[in-house]
Symmetry: C3
């Protein structure tokens, strides 16, 4: 019964917030402008494929909680996107076109899914929904400060594809939240994958790889799209090659999880520069990102988990955290006319806000209950295996 009430609280919170704004409704438009917005819509669909199939299946490398990982993905997207739209429909925000606003909501959902990847296997389904409710307001606050520069404190930064405000923010939020939600017992359970779960994970990875250019270039002016998307593909190619070489060099054998994850690091890192870099710079950024991400998965992850006494189930610090910060810093070298202090302030504010928000949110979620042992689908799902 207590549980029941908890769940309805979540629902009413969503509905309540929705009701405040009653969502801003888009206004009619015509001609070329309508054509352009429908083109954006195509990229919005690509991003949605990344959110559900991409992030969802990437997390299915864990054999024992694949169903819950996919269900959590569904719930996180379904809570965060309407919530984001409702929040942004409040008067204090600048009015935006319908699809543009929707894409910004998808960016928020992506960042949330990254954060959730750090907590996978240690919270229950309704806790994911609470996570979404807590995450989005903090995310919007960071967007307001760093991207919109609402308080005229940061200046203009280079981060169109969200290396900093989406990837690094999500990863740091998730790792910080994990501190209150990890137990010693969790670290003792090794995460098991098998041939099938690895293939599902590679499927998710490929979906992310394929549509990543649409993520980065979603809101870029139409003339800049061709060079931009090719840059993203080149960076991804670079990180994929570097991941293979680094994985086999460090471990002696290839790790399928390295390939599924670190191959994407080029996409994470190029987010701050894809609309300014040459193709050659994109290749270099991709190669470096793939290499450092693989080093993270193959060498640092164990150490970091022991040090922070956490479990970062999906290794989000290695895929989104470090490559995201690296991408933000790479802009200093690559982007002409960038104000270095603005870029650094943007990174710093994002890092601090993500950590503080993550700590607070993790603490709140832990008050709703903390799992004794690691999650298995059997805990909440009506299944036998």
């Amino acid at each position: 019964m207590k549980n029941f009430i908890k769940k309805f609280t979540v629902l009413f919170a969503v509905l309540g917030i929705s009701a405040i704004g009653v969502f801003a409704e888009g206004t009619g438009k015509s001609g070329i402008s309508a054509l352009l917005e429908v083109q954006q819509y195509n990229r919005a669909i690509h991003i949605m494929a990344m959110l559900l199939l991409g992030f969802g299946f990437l997390m299915v490398f864990v054999k024992k909680y694949g169903r819950s990982a996919l269900t959590a993905t569904f719930l996180l997207v379904s809570v965060s996107i309407p919530l984001y739209l409702a929040v942004k429909s409040m008067g204090i925000f600048a009015e935006k076109q319908e699809i543009e606003q929707f894409i910004l909501a998808e960016f928020g959902a992506a960042s949330l899914l990254i954060a959730a990847g750090a907590l996978l296997g240690r919270i229950k389904m309704y806790q994911y929904m609470v996570l979404g409710l807590l995450f989005i307001p903090f995310y919007v606050l960071n967007e307001l400060i760093v991207v919109d520069d609402h308080f005229e404190f940061i200046g203009k930064i280079a981060d169109t594809g969200g290396s900093i405000v989406i990837h690094a923010f999500g990863a740091l939020f998730g790792i910080s939240a994990a501190i209150s939600l990890s137990k010693k017992e969790h670290r003792e359970v090794s995460i098991l994958s098998d041939a099938v779960s690895d293939k599902f994970s590679l499927l998710g990875s490929m979906v992310l790889w394929i549509f990543w250019p649409s993520f980065c270039a979603a809101l870029v002016p139409v003339e800049a799209i061709p060079a931009s998307v090719v840059n993203v593909f080149i960076a991804l190619s670079g990180s994929t090659i570097a991941t293979y070489i680094a994985s086999v060099s460090i471990r002696g054998k290839i790790d399928a999880a390295d390939i599924a994850n670190a191959a994407l690091a080029g996409g994470v890192a190029i987010g701050a520069t894809f609309d300014h870099a040459t193709h050659f710079e994109a290749m270099i950024i991709g190669l470096i990102a793939g290499a450092i991400s693989t080093v993270g998965f193959a060498i640092l992850q164990d150490k970091q988990q022991r040090f922070h006494k956490i479990v970062d189930t999906c290794g989000v610090s290695n895929l989104h955290g470090i490559p995201g910060i690296f991408g933000g810093l790479a802009a200093i070298v690559v982007v002409d006319g960038l104000v270095v202090s603005s870029q650094l302030k943007g990174i710093l504010v994002t890092v601090v806000l993500a950590i503080v928000a993550g700590l607070i949110s993790g603490k709140i979620i832990s008050l709703l209950g903390k799992m004794k042992t690691i999650y298995e689908d059997t805990a909440e799902f009506d299944v036998e295996d």
Copy 2:
């Protein structure tokens, strides 16, 4: 040999009908009009992803006949789309642009796949092809009466996304056809799924979720697309949240099949109103649709199957039937200026025609053979498991 002849009969039927029309060929066009048609083409591709990957893998929740479910999906699409195009190229129908006609053919294929979902596991591969041959003419007839109002009997109804004429029609056709094709023995075999088949099913579900806005808005004027597609996503978010809450509240545990199916009910129900509703109305319709669909899966399905003495393998009445009708009725509240009697007549004609056509088709297909026990891939496929 008899079998062999049967199969070729199907082929020649397809070719024969094709030959009559030799398919209407599209005429050249240029400028903005061509750009618009290519934008429609993008949505046609999205719909094709729903037909094959979406409907196909959603049916793979059954462990024992996944290969046949996917093969059946391939065959149903391959028979129905050319057949629809051939039928519509006959002189009595209004001429349409190439891609528009193709999208209408995809709508027919979607409705057919819904119908087939009710029969899954009880007919053989070539019987699916016969099902397609029988279904499309009835579907076109209903389209002619209800959508095109060819006989000036119905008036204008609200059903752009096909809650009534695609979802409810397909579901009722399938359930009615199941009556002649179900045996007592079929109801005694429980449908087994496992961790892998559940994940494939969730994959299909996610593909449907992602591309659903393109399905609804496929033929909507370009200016109306932004608000429309956001409405569809909001309705889907609503049904996903409601499904989770209803599933865990009714069953005590979450059922992965509830999530994979009922999460989509918002898409089914919003089809009649997505181009008129506010975002808030879309959320309410989605929440209600998810809740009633889950009630269907968790409570009604057993009762209905006993009552009608059928097996509705994929629960199409719960996902497409009831939410489709609900969506059609919701339009009465939501759509300004709707003629209520037209809307009700449209629903009534669709229901009656679907049931009669389903009964006839089921009877014909049962004459070609009725399976003693429930289908397994080993029956027709060259496999060991």
Copy 3:
């Protein structure tokens, strides 16, 4: 250590070649022209889905090396696309728009993946990268001679969708390369699939089917797209129906691998004529292609493998080789005003060049090591099963 050096050689080769051209950077453009290029970009994304998810998962029918098949796909795409762009940025080639050039690079990657399908299970991961490095220059040479008619030797051929220069070229290259890389022991190991690997393979097949029209019509003028893409879908429908009938007629039972593969033969064969054929001709070409491809898989494959003493793991000669040549020849009947001698010269040059290039490349790759037994993921991957 030796291995280590080998791997870095590959990396530096990629980088080195990249550095020569520093890739041609696209020039800004505006208005309708920019809209058109973004529409092409949507098709580029569709093709990328085919390359990774499509070709990748189609190869996962083999239970024992699914992870390596997917990793190889990732590496082949990541090596070949930047390499192609680098090569084409050298001064001797005509300048192209950014996205057009990128799509041509994807075509090259598709052809390479076809070639790799013949070698699957007999080479190691870094050998795939070497394969990519060797393949692309030969592919570009053939493109220069046959498509661009750079030496004014061939004339104009009909092959917009690459039946000849993509599919047949890749297949013949792969089979020829297999000669140096096959051992008697390889032919003795039967390739095992199971219910799960078959479903993954059907998933790959469906992804290819869905996006195939975007592959063929990627660079077609906007006005010609509607009729073109419908033709491709009709041809695919034809081959899917014919495959089912042929599979069950020849084998007595349906083979899931026939469905996953030969159903696509219509797409392969229509590549030379989809922009000229009527819908009815497209259906006929699809039906014939599906039938001959299934005959290839069900009857010829064993004989051919014994005759050439090779293993064609994925049966690329049956899916891409024979249907590709058939498609190229079908153009002689279908395309008005086609110069028959040009078409025949185009086919002949492609066949000869592919065989010679494949023999050379296979020999070179075999010098880097030849596997004693058939590949299993355990050989190079850090896994237990």
